[in-house]
Amino acid sequence: MVAAEATGPVAEEELGDPSVVVDDLHVTYRLYGGRRHVADDDASRLARLVSRSRNHLGGVTEVHAVRGVSFVARHGEAIGIIGRNGSGKSTLLRAVAGLLPPASGAVYVAGRTALLGVSAALMKDLTGERNIMLGGLALGLSPQQVRARFDDVVEFAGIGDSVHLPMSSYSSGMGARLRFAISASAAPDILMIDEALATGDAEFRARSQDKIDEIREQAGTVFLVSHSDATVRAMCGRALWVDKGRLVRDGPVDEVCDAYKRSAKPRRPPAR
């Protein structure tokens, strides 16, 4: 079963055929180094001792992060995924990108997906130059393609001559700009962005917005994960609200964000 078509501002624009179909997706992953505490006051002293020592011994937790999500995304759509920290947004994004295997359910996509996560392949001891090559190759480009786009990447990142210095000498903003520029250089059909736009100044945000629009115009699909509804409102037409691994709401960005905002401040009495 899949979601009904999205309605709202984006749907009114010309929307293409489905580019991503997510069908009853469940994702689990393993987490090492700790274990959930089961508070049990009635347990005997021995049982509590065993339970406490388990934290140091079998410190691995199976996390069921996404629990039955279904939706359909279309070509030319920019979709924001919002939700609180730890609600399963990033896991959902990684599963849709095909990087985490589904425990059950299925994900179908058209073309190539790229997660704006190239930073994982970069090495801070190496120069920006070498990192552009490494990142580009990591995204699946050929060495010739990387060389052809090299100047564009440096220009888009706005780092100038610093490209010959090791990345460890970059400011966090410069690093973020370079990472975004490398990721965008691969021109994927489906681009996924995970909170990355939180860094960078206003000018860079504007450039990122342009890049996202460009990908959408080329009939690509963009996913943007954020816990800030302002970012999602600014960049997306449709939003998915995820909570505790479930899809709470799917629809036009303002409608979903309003609902999310209301739920985020439950204790405050309504204004006016």
Partner: protein, 297 residues
């Protein structure tokens, strides 16, 4: 969370279109599944530049954070050989049955160190790069391959040191020195195969990472790094087992190429090629079987 049930219901009921059929109609492909062996091999070939860049960056960045920089690639093995020579050649005296003990020991240490560091970094290649695995698409076998390739790149400068030491101890270059290249290549292929196996096992159970150094320590003492196995065990069954296990085979093989006193042997070459093929093919298949699940951690 009042909208929760409504929204889920809306998504669940939808318009009744089957997802797989919809995907097929618009030509979407399923993600998060294991590619066929053929596709997988093709992907590995397409990513050869990435593997090479990853390996060279890895090997390079290792020594770049201090003043002497890349010079350490030569200094480290030189000092290491000095330490072992002091302990085993001067203090303990395990030179039984070996004429050129310094050459014998240096070959043993350099080759064994290459194999053991390869296995170690191959074993950790998935778990220590889990961020990359969870962010980028590429055949995961690229990671163990790049890890061992980085070790090979690191060991190459050390080989210049090795040949220098051999010349200083009175060995003279002969035609059999050329056979050192294929011998090293076999050891490299074997190490990559062993890295596939280790990487897959470590993802399944990280506790193994604590046992691998222990196993390598044991291997160091029984593979004839510091002493001639034949001289100390003779021809009994245990001795033969020790002599033809992979690591001992490769040490003897390289020694037969570089040291005048160790004769070349077809049997050794056969074992060397056999172990390399067995581990490379078997290890690759074993690794590929879990391809889709490495992102899970």
């Amino acid at each position: 969370m009042t909208h929760s049930s409504q929204a889920t219901a809306a998504v669940g009921d939808g318009d009744g279109v089957d997802a797989a059929a919809l995907a097929a109609r618009y030509g979407l492909h399923r993600v998060g599944t294991r590619p066929s062996l053929r596709t997988y091999l093709r992907q590995m070939w397409e990513r050869r530049h990435f593997i090479a860049a990853l390996a060279s960056s890895n090997a390079y960045s290792r020594n770049q954070n201090n003043y002497l920089g890349q010079l350490w690639a030569i200094l480290n093995p030189l000092f290491l050989a000095g330490v072992y020579l002091l302990v085993f050649g001067v203090l303990l005296g395990t030179r039984g049955g070996v004429d050129n003990y310094v050459g014998f020991l240096t070959v043993g240490i350099f080759m064994f160190t290459f194999a053991s560091t390869s296995l170690m970094s191959g074993a950790k290649s998935i778990t220590s790069n889990i961020g990359m695995v969870r962010a980028l698409h590429f055949p995961r076998a690229a990671l163990p391959v790049a890890a061992v390739l980085a070790e090979l790149a690191t060991v190459l400068p050390a080989l210049a040191v090795l040949l220098g030491i051999l010349l200083a101890t009175g060995e003279r270059p002969t035609w059999s020195w050329l056979a050192f290249v294929p011998a090293l290549l076999l050891l490299y292929v074997f190490s990559t195969g062993a890295a596939f196996v280790a990487a897959r096992l470590v993802v399944g159970s990280r506790d193994l990472l604590n046992l691998i150094p222990l196993a390598l320590r044991l291997a160091r003492y029984v593979s004839g790094v510091f002493f001639s196995i034949q001289h100390y065990t003779g021809d009994n069954p245990l001795g033969l087992l020790l002599e033809y296990q992979p690591l001992a085979v490769y040490l003897s093989l390289v020694r037969s190429c570089l040291l005048a006193e160790v004769p070349q042997s077809a049997l050794l070459w056969g074992f060397g090629a056999g172990w390399a093929l067995l581990f490379a093919i078997g290890g690759f298949l074993l690794f590929w079987q879990r391809e889709e699940s490495y992102g899970r951690g």
